[in-house]
């Protein structure tokens, strides 16, 4: 009996234990996505005999004799279903990985406007948007601007990939059919710390279909960091592809490469591994005490570890002025300890890569990465290959949030490809995302601050401990960054920081939106709020008394890069915006017995990382008066592609629909540091702008003397025109120009969040009554997308503030390894946030723009903590604020 998919019979019988999702993808329906594989996220939603189901938990054999409709079959090939059109009109997506499932779910709802979306959408997770754009799409609200004749910059244009996203034809990392593909599965450590004394591979190799087993004996001896930075020396070299010591539960022990996932998994189960169990340490304070097990005690020099014997991978001890003097001169001093937990990025597309050798034997990786160029560099070094013998590219990437600024799979895939000579795929399961990827660094911040009666700060002192887990990757850099803009935003003569990034035998921490700032700002902004309360002053006023102003230095203890300046300043406007919001009356209904409160917090972020961030771009004139942009940076819903097209269109006097973008492939340009540190617009965009300006000059010159202006189809001369078509055909080589940007100097962006909340002391329930976020993004190049970045950042931060925590048990094992244990914000959890933009124009960023991608996350948790303090009188110091914890704390007070 066949399965009828989108009107066509498929005769291949499903395997007995196969789920419908993998069957549909095997039959070519790549629009059906794997987000969780447990029935929770809805990315795999399809219709079976007209009824919506989660195909990952639907037995495939049961689809025999039935009709299955996937996103690919929703509309005729030449048209869109009305719901697809609405998701396009409202840009109800960012990375788009959840979109096919959202659309298939929406189609099954009561038309046209379902009454209870929070309930209807509880089986559809979106990690990017914060759901406002999804709601607009479902409700038929159009927010995308029609491309007009005027300038593209400033318009809310839709993403170029939108039509592919809504039709399920956008190709993500694993949406390719690779003949001869082998599958790689990893045996992971059950121990928090152990030495592998023997691995018996015989039984695994005997499993039919198994091609290879890889152990530490097969791995390069070289140490590297999974963290990716322009300068590898920023990160400790403490990791091997496969090591003979495992330092956390979930670390790679061995890999099995086989014809099928089933055989690879069976091979893993048949590996016999002997371990010598070593003492483990799970807490960073305990790890720093004398006599604690040293996680990397075997590494002496050359690994860039500050004090391996003490588990300190990086540290910062510095003081500006004299904090003791500052405290002595204060009218009020407040000190408290704040804690933030591990949080998972939970990008809906898991980590993974497909590798192969191309026709020339060149190692090629298609990977879910934010850093294809840096990953190529790392692979070349690791396997001692010339750079031109490695190519790394991405498809559309299904969400990143910093988690993919890391080489977590490519090294192992490359090793397997080189061993077998065959194409190899490693696709993380959702459980592996939690146990074997990275998390946000948990921070403990002890902070003491003093202020005079008028609110002027006299001293700030912080002791910061971040837990980097078993490997150092981003640990030192996150710690440094966390201790910079969070306190540099305040003008205070006396500042002191003692900070430690510490190894423990736990799942490694890594880069995550905000890169340490969110964690430290939680403490700083809570403390500022508490000082204001103790002085009886308005928290906004206390901020105004102390914030840096244009022309002033950005000072924080320690050696920080000196290329950071205030090249535009809208923090004052951002504070005014929340003051106006707070002045508004309470109009929202509040149940009897609930307590109402308000709170705010601010954040500053550097537009780009220190030490240089490089981007190359090229633009080529194509036939048909069209252009092609080549740029290295990755698109994962950040929308940089849209902005690149807008920047080029205005410069070249054309429209974005005449521009195609080739990107995120080490073959298309010379170099790109990567899509991280909020650089998609301010660095890669700057390179595109330079290339466009250069090409414009080129075209005017080519058109000959008297060229006046460049239009969409021709160069206008003083006396006539030369068509672009003629210019494109005039020479032997294509007309092309390049652009480059080094990522320095850098400006700063500002964000301020304000909440009004209500709390039920009887149950701990917290409701957000109103949420306002003001942002200084410089010139807003695309208001639709910038608003989306802010809403998404606020929503993700609300998850970290109210719900999310990766838990580790006494044995070091992650116990929250799926979306049922780890609660991501759903439609019902995220209130609307009003977004207000400051009116500024930056002197550095392209056309006056600044970064606005990581930073909206950072002020959210402290603003909510401050509102909770206002409502209840209690200072909450440990994230997250779940109902049970709120109730327990209020009861204890």
């Amino acid at each position: 009996m066949s399965v009828r998919i989108n009107g066509t019979d498929h005769d291949e019988p499903p395997r007995p234990g196969q789920c419908l999702r993998t069957y549909l993808r095997q039959e070519g329906c790549f629009g059906v996505k794997k987000g969780c594989d447990t029935g929770d996220c809805g990315a795999c939603t399809v219709h079976v005999d007209g009824r919506p189901v989660h195909s990952c938990v639907y037995p495939a054999f049961r689809a025999q004799g039935r009709q299955v409709t996937t996103i690919e079959g929703l509309a005729p090939p030449d048209g869109l279903h009305p719901v697809q059109q609405r998701f396009l009109d409202a840009q109800g997506f960012q990375c788009g990985f959840c979109t096919a499932g959202m659309i298939m779910t929406t189609v099954a709802l009561d038309e046209p406007k379902p009454a209870d979306l929070p309930r209807a959408l509880k089986g559809n997770l979106c990690r990017c948007t914060g759901y406002r754009a999804v709601a607009d799409a479902i409700n038929g609200v159009r927010t995308v601007d029609e491309p007009g004749a005027g300038p593209a910059i400033g318009d809310g244009l839709g993403a170029p990939a939108g039509p592919q996203v809504v039709t399920g034809t956008a190709r993500y990392t694993f949406d390719v059919d690779v003949p001869g593909l082998l599958h790689l599965k990893v045996l992971r450590s059950p121990h928090a710390h152990a030495r592998i004394t023997a691995i018996d591979t015989a039984a695994a190799l005997a499993v039919p279909g198994v091609h290879a087993v890889l152990t530490h004996e097969d791995a390069p001896a070289r140490y590297f960091s999974t963290a990716r930075h322009e300068h590898p020396t920023e990160d400790p070299a403490d990791t091997r592809v496969l090591d003979d010591v495992v330092r956390h539960v979930g670390q790679r022990v061995a890999a099995v490469v086989a014809e099928t996932e089933a055989a690879a998994e069976e091979g893993c189960r048949r590996l016999r591994v002997a371990y010598e169990i070593l003492p483990a340490v799970l807490d960073p304070e305990a790890a720093m005490r004398p006599g604690a097990p040293a996680v990397h005690g075997d590494k002496v020099t050359g690994h860039r570890i500050a004090r391996a014997a003490d588990n300190v991978v990086g540290e910062l001890h510095a003081e500006l002025g004299d904090v003791e003097e500052g405290f002595a001169g204060a009218d009020v001093v407040y000190e408290e300890t704040f804690r933030t937990p591990r949080v998972q990025h939970a990008a809906l597309e898991t980590h993974g890569a497909i590798g192969w050798l191309d026709g020339t034997g060149r190692l090629t990786l298609r990977t879910s990465s934010q850093t294809p160029f840096l990953t190529r560099r790392a692979l070349a070094e690791l396997f001692e290959l010339p750079l031109d013998r490695v190519r790394v590219l991405t498809g559309r990437v299904g969400g990143g949030f910093g988690g993919k600024q890391e080489m977590l799979v490519e090294d192992l895939v490359a090793l397997a490809v080189r061993r077998t000579g065959r194409p190899v795929k490693l696709e993380y399961t959702r459980a592996e995302q939690f146990t074997a990827a990275t998390t946000r660094h948990p921070f403990t911040v002890r902070m003491k601050a003093g202020a005079r009666r008028d609110g002027t700060l006299t001293a700030l002192s912080l002791r910061v401990v971040s837990d980097t887990g078993a490997y150092g990757n981003h640990g030192p850099a996150v710690m440094y960054h966390g201790c910079h803009e969070s306190i540099a935003v305040y003008r205070c003569a006396n500042k002191k920081v003692d900070a430690y990034a510490v190894y423990t035998n736990t799942v490694p921490s890594g880069a995550f939106r905000g890169y340490g700032l969110g964690q430290v700002s939680f403490a700083v902004e809570s403390v500022l709020d508490e000082l204001a309360r103790r002085l009886g002053l308005d928290p906004v006023l206390v901020r105004e008394r102390n914030i840096v102003r244009p022309g002033e230095p950005l000072a924080a203890p320690g050696d920080h890069a000196d290329d950071l300046v205030i090249a535009s300043y809208g923090l004052d406007q951002c504070l005014d915006a929340v003051r106006s919001a707070a002045a508004g009356p309470l109009t929202e209904p509040v149940p009897d017995g609930w307590r109402v409160g308000e709170g705010m917090a601010l954040a500053m972020i550097a537009a780009g990382p220190p030490g240089g961030h490089f981007a190359d771009a090229a633009i080529t004139l194509l036939p048909g008066s069209r252009y092609e942009i080549a740029v290295g940076t990755t698109e994962f819903g950040n929308g940089s592609t849209t902005v690149h097209a807008q920047l080029a269109a205005d410069t070249l006097g054309t429209t974005p629909d005449r521009i195609v973008v080739r990107q995120s492939d080490t073959d298309v340009v010379g170099h790109d540091t990567g899509a991280f540190a909020s650089t998609g617009v301010v660095v890669a965009g700057q390179a595109v702008l330079q290339a466009a300006r250069s090409l414009r000059e080129r075209l005017l010159t080519l058109a000959g003397p008297g060229a006046v202006s460049l239009g969409a189809d021709a160069v206008t001369l003083q006396d006539g025109q030369v068509s672009l078509e003629d210019l494109a055909a005039s020479g032997t080589a294509p007309v092309r120009a390049e652009g480059h940007w080094t990522g320095t100097p850098r400006s700063v962006a500002f964000n301020v969040q304000w909440f009004r909340i209500a709390v039920d002391p009887g149950t701990g329930e917290l409701r957000i009554l109103r949420s306002v976020h003001s942002a200084d993004a410089g010139t807003v190049l695309n208001p639709l997308q910038t608003r989306g970045q802010i809403e998404g950042g606020v929503a993700q931060a609300l998850g970290a503030t109210l719900a999310e925590h990766v838990d580790i048990d006494a044995g070091g094992r992650v116990t929250t390894a799926g979306f049922r244990q780890y609660h991501l914000p759903t439609f019902a959890d995220v209130p609307p946030t009003e977004v207000v933009f400051a009116r500024t124009e930056d002197a550095i960023g392209p056309l006056g723009a600044k970064s606005m991608s990581e930073s909206p996350f950072n002020p959210v948790a402290p603003a909510l903590a401050n509102a909770l303090r206002d409502a209840t009188g209690v200072r909450f110091t440990d994230l997250p604020f779940t109902r049970d914890r709120i109730w327990q704390r209020l009861r204890a007070e």
């Binding site: 234990g17 594989d37 447990t38 029935g39 989660h54 089986g123 049970d884």
Partner: protein, 267 residues
């Protein structure tokens, strides 16, 4: 997810076919949501085509394979008002979306025996009795006794749940429902159902506890009597301690909601 160790599906399957390595398969939403490396064969019950809900003068018989959607949509026997009031509320208490309802079954929810299982709450509150088929014959057991702990049931290897019968006597009294969760529409951390039974009150506590607890009162108790009964019946370590809510909070909400239910149904 794919269950790679499964090599065969028996469909439809019957009692007596079970052997070690087999798993009874209803909707599959539970079985396919976790790795099942010990399972080599699936015994499909859905293909047997059991009638989802059968009404009679004796009450309602719900087949184990009745989907949540079928239960939520069941419009027969309107005189069983208690059932209809509670069925909708309990279906909505699922963490899972309406799409899962199209596939997941009542029996699957009972056999998974998770504290938050809302079909456990519904059928326990309505004095449901399970019909269990096994190689040695059939037996009957109350829902309250079927679920013995977090993820544990009284089913022996090879036994299957055929149906749950809700007696007519339990389907007409007034009811009250309370659910608490860490999140809006989230997984239940506390789910209490009260039901008037003649002059009496039946209070069923689920989700907060590792197994369902039922408190039966011949007359509606006073607040103090109810609180004392909860203290006496449910020990401190009967409250679930997991990521879905602190045990102290669950106990607090249990007592709070129990009193709300008592007050609501007392009048």
């Amino acid at each position: 997810m794919d269950l790679h160790t499964v090599v065969e599906v028996v469909s439809p399957a019957e009692v007596g076919q079970w052997r070690p390595g087999d798993a009874w398969l209803a909707g599959g939403t539970g079985l396919f949501a976790e790795p099942q490396t010990g399972v080599t064969r699936l015994l499909d019950l859905v293909a047997a085509g059991w009638t989802p809900v059968t009404a009679s003068g004796n009450g309602l018989e719900i087949a184990a394979t009745c989907t949540v959607a079928d239960l939520a949509g069941y419009a027969g026997a309107q005189h069983f008002t208690a059932f209809h009031e509670l069925a909708t509320a309990c279906c909505r208490a699922f963490l899972a979306s309406f799409k899962i309802w199209n596939v997941a079954t009542v029996g699957g929810n009972l056999c998974a025996a998770l504290p938050a299982g809302p079909m456990i709450a519904l059928t326990a509150a309505l004095d449901g009795e399970c019909l269990i088929l096994g190689p040695a014959g059939e037996r009957r057991m109350s829902v309250v006794r079927l679920v013995t702990g977090d993820g544990a049931t009284a089913l022996a290897p090879g036994e299957l749940l055929r149906s749950i019968t809700l007696p007519a006597a339990a389907l007409t009294g007034r009811t009250a429902f309370r659910q608490g969760s860490l999140f809006a529409h989230g997984r239940s951390a506390v789910l209490l159902i009260g039901r008037r039974a003649g002059a009496g009150l039946v209070l069923t506590v689920t989700a907060a506890t590792v197994r369902p607890f039922q408190l039966r009162f011949a007359e509606v108790p006073g607040a103090g009597e109810l609180a004392a009964a909860l203290r006496d019946t449910i020990a401190a370590d009967d409250y679930v301690d997991d990521v879905h809510g602190l045990p102290a909070w669950r106990r607090h909400l249990t007592r709070r909601y129990a009193e709300e239910i008592r007050a609501e149904l007392a009048g």
